[in-house]
């Protein structure tokens, strides 16, 4: 009896491993091996295009501590992440609540707000370069009409990064909206009805019913958003190339510059490992702070 149970269990395990194997092979070849290699390379002087490498020990990491641009780039990445994620999630949540009503033609509005997500990022970047153009750009024209001062946007080292943040919010909100909308559909409507009977205002219903009940999804969206935003590369590459005055240079772009423009694969690998640690740290921080406050429906 027990031996046939053990056999069944072993067969189940074998099946599980067999099913996992294909993706494990892919992960090993395209993720784990490159990570190991980048740790190895970060301890060497590696020149792109040259097969010879030289042992350096910790030198690349020491350079990193001394690199003014690295700290600036790290700060830019943090600024981008800490503005883009909260703002686009707030916008997405408000949009999702608004889209959750049963107004006529709602499908059209939903598609309209989701539309930016479907535009390829390079095309979106080029589009916003035009929108932000200081001379003939529509955004400056609109500012003038409203009687506000015109800005140089991508040419101004104070405004270039906020400009990319604004376009990222436009690009990401629709995606987050869609995920949150699906979560909203699962919130039991009797909760709202009860609240309405008790005379609770719309704002309080949002804060005290909607937000707690979609909090698992919000948490998911925060993690996804963090992963998206530290990976930002395409907009920087297309719109500003890191300039002006390095004000839009972010970690992934700096890694690319070092690896491919300067051929300095060793240093680029050290940067990539620093990024990996920074991201793991940030995700860890999010999970111990926000993760614990997530409210799962039906749990105590």
């Amino acid at each position: 009896m027990s031996s046939s149970f053990a056999r069944a269990r072993r067969n189940e395990m074998l099946l599980a491993y067999a099913l996992l194997l294909p993706s494990l092979i892919f992960l090993a070849v395209f993720t784990y091996w490159p990570i190991i290699r980048s740790v190895w390379f970060s301890l060497h002087d590696v020149l792109l295009g040259d097969p010879e490498i030289f042992w350096l020990g910790a030198e690349n990491y020491l350079r990193l501590l001394d690199d003014r641009l690295f700290w600036k780039v790290l700060g830019n990445t943090a600024f981008y992440t800490l503005t883009t994620i909260p703002l686009s999630i707030i916008v997405a949540l408000l949009l999702a609540v608004a889209m959750d009503s049963k107004l006529r033609g709602m499908a059209i509005y939903r598609s309209a707000f989701f539309y930016p997500v479907m535009i390829p990022s390079v095309a979106a970047g080029m589009l916003w370069v035009f929108l932000y153009a200081p001379g003939y750009g529509p955004i400056n024209a609109a500012l003038t009409t409203l009687g506000l001062p015109r800005l140089d946007w991508l040419y101004d080292s104070d405004w270039a990064l906020p400009a990319i943040v604004i376009m990222s919010i436009w690009k990401y909100s629709g995606y987050f909206m869609l995920i949150l909308l699906a979560a909203l559909k699962l919130v039991p409507s009797d909760l709202y009805e009860a609240a309405r009977l008790d005379g609770v205002s719309g704002w309080h219903r949002l804060i005290h019913i909607t937000v707690p009940l979609v909090s698992p999804t919000l948490y998911f969206v925060i993690i996804i958003g963090t992963l998206h935003s530290y990976q930002i590369f395409d907009y920087v590459y297309v719109m500003t190339q890191g300039g002006p005055a390095d004000s839009t240079n972010v970690l992934t772009y700096y890694i690319y510059q070092n690896g491919f423009q300067y051929q300095d694969i060793g240093y680029a690998s050290a940067l990539a490992n620093a990024l990996l640690i920074a991201v793991l740290g940030f995700i860890g921080l999010v999970s111990v702070t926000l993760g614990r406050r997530v409210h799962y429906l039906g749990e105590r």
Binding site: R37, D45, L47, G49, Q261
Partner: protein, 433 residues
């Protein structure tokens, strides 16, 4: 290049094991089994200026293929100079470089550092290259007396100016000195209250470090030597202080992009523009006003650095390919093609004989602007030929941008950029030592 640093505590490691997945070549599977004698060459080239350069080059290559049996050149448009260099270096890394490529001349030491270039000195001597090529242009592909490329599209920055705007502002000829440049820029700037309608001057962004080297030369300094940069010298600091003065006076755009600055000029949003002579034909024919071309204004003297690049041939390929590659490079730089290329773009023809051609003489009579950069080339030299030039350029651009944005003083910016760059150069040389 040959500096020896004996006391390096380094172990030489063959990266064979680590590089294996990278190199995972499958030539056995991919090689076509056709038994025909056509030598196929890949040629990677950039578009480095304003205008439809891509079509012009594609047409030249199509003509070459139509007239040369046994050789077929595949034209690979690779983006900007930077993109082209990266593509070539990546393909060198996996041991399959293109047969030829066209990089910026500053990358010479980078490619030599990778042992990637075929030495073409002997072929060039047997041919008429050393007699007919204009010496200054050929020099940008020379290292230690050996030739590693055929100069194809040399250029210098020139001062483009909107003649209609000059007439409106009551200005006569183009400015000749820095002081006159600033006076003109102030007279040409138009503001409507706070809103800017037209800049007096824009220095084409993305390559403003190239223009800045010109400013150093105009102030009597070649701001680099074989193994270091000299941007912290007083002549260079003075040049940056002058830029800052123009930005503070509100007559020069503090930042721009390469294509954007050319578009701004054609749209009339800036009255004077520093841009490559390679953009001449496009700016001249696409602007709705008369375009003047002048030397970049001088301080102590006229001066400019040569941009553009030579066609280089890969060392790591079969002799048949090398021979075919030489035929192609030679054809691209022959007298007729260089004259036609120069007329179509504004790049400077590399051969003396091209400038003597009747069509060229007639063109110069009609478009005297085309001769300006050629005359300015007398005062020009190679652009930033140091190891690690790519990082050096970014360091300088960053220093200039931060200064013009008001984040840092000119001297502090240039001193930091110089120290950072020279440390990088030493790091790269240690590797080669």
């Amino acid at each position: 290049m040959k500096s020896t640093k004996p006391n390096m505590m380094r172990r030489r490691l063959l990266a064979t094991g680590l590089a294996a997945p990278f190199v995972s070549a499958m030539p056995g599977i991919l090689t076509p089994a056709r038994a025909n004698d056509t030598v196929k060459l890949q040629f990677m080239y950039p578009v480095g200026v304003s205008g439809d350069i891509n079509t012009i080059i594609s047409n030249m290559i199509a003509e070459f293929n139509a007239t040369h049996d046994g050789v077929e050149v595949e034209a690979i448009y690779a983006g900007s100079y930077d993109n082209t260099e990266q593509k070539v270096i990546t393909s060198l890394g996996v041991g399959e470089p293109p047969a030829l490529w066209l990089p910026i001349n500053s990358s010479l030491q980078t490619f030599l550092g990778l042992d990637a270039l075929e030495d073409i000195t002997e072929q060039a001597k047997a041919d008429d290259i050393y007699d007919d090529f204009i010496g200054g242009f050929l020099d940008t592909a020379v290292s230690d007396g050996r030739l590693y490329g055929l100069s194809y599209q040399p250029s210098t920055p020139v001062l483009y100016y909107n003649k209609d705007a000059f007439a409106e502002a009551g200005l006569g000829d183009a400015p000749v000195t820095w002081d006159e440049l600033m006076t003109a820029a102030q007279a040409l700037t138009i503001r409507d209250g706070d809103a800017l309608k037209r800049w007096g001057l824009t220095i084409g962004g993305g390559w403003h470090d190239w223009m800045f080297e010109g400013y150093c030369r105009q102030n009597g300094l070649v701001p680099w030597e074989a193994d270091k940069v000299l941007w912290d010298r007083p002549e260079a600091i003075e040049a940056l202080e002058f830029w800052k003065k123009m930005v503070d006076a509100g007559c020069m755009a503090p930042a721009s992009t390469w294509q954007g600055s050319a578009n701004d000029f054609m749209a009339g949003s800036t009255a004077m523009l520093y841009h490559s002579t390679g953009s001449l034909t496009n700016l001249r024919t696409s602007s709705p006003f008369e375009v003047g071309v002048a030397f970049m204004p001088k301080r102590k003297q006229f001066g400019a650095s040569q941009g553009g690049g030579p066609i280089m041939i890969a060392k790591n390929q079969s002799d048949a390919k090398k021979e075919a590659a030489w035929t192609f490079a030679r054809w691209m730089t022959n007298t007729e093609n260089q004259a036609a290329w120069s007329r179509a773009t504004g790049y400077l023809a590399v051969r003396k004989s091209s400038w003597q051609q009747p069509e060229m003489q007639q063109y110069l009579a009609e478009v005297p602007q085309a001769e300006v950069a050629m005359k300015q080339a007398e005062y020009s030299g190679a652009f930033l030929q140091v190891p690690a030039y790519s990082r050096a350029r970014d360091n300088l651009k960053s220093a200039i941008d931060r200064t013009l944005a008001g984040e840092i003083a000119p001297e502090a910016a240039l001193t930091t950029a110089t120290a950072d760059t020279n440390r990088e150069i030493q790091r790269v040389q240690r590797r080669q030592g």
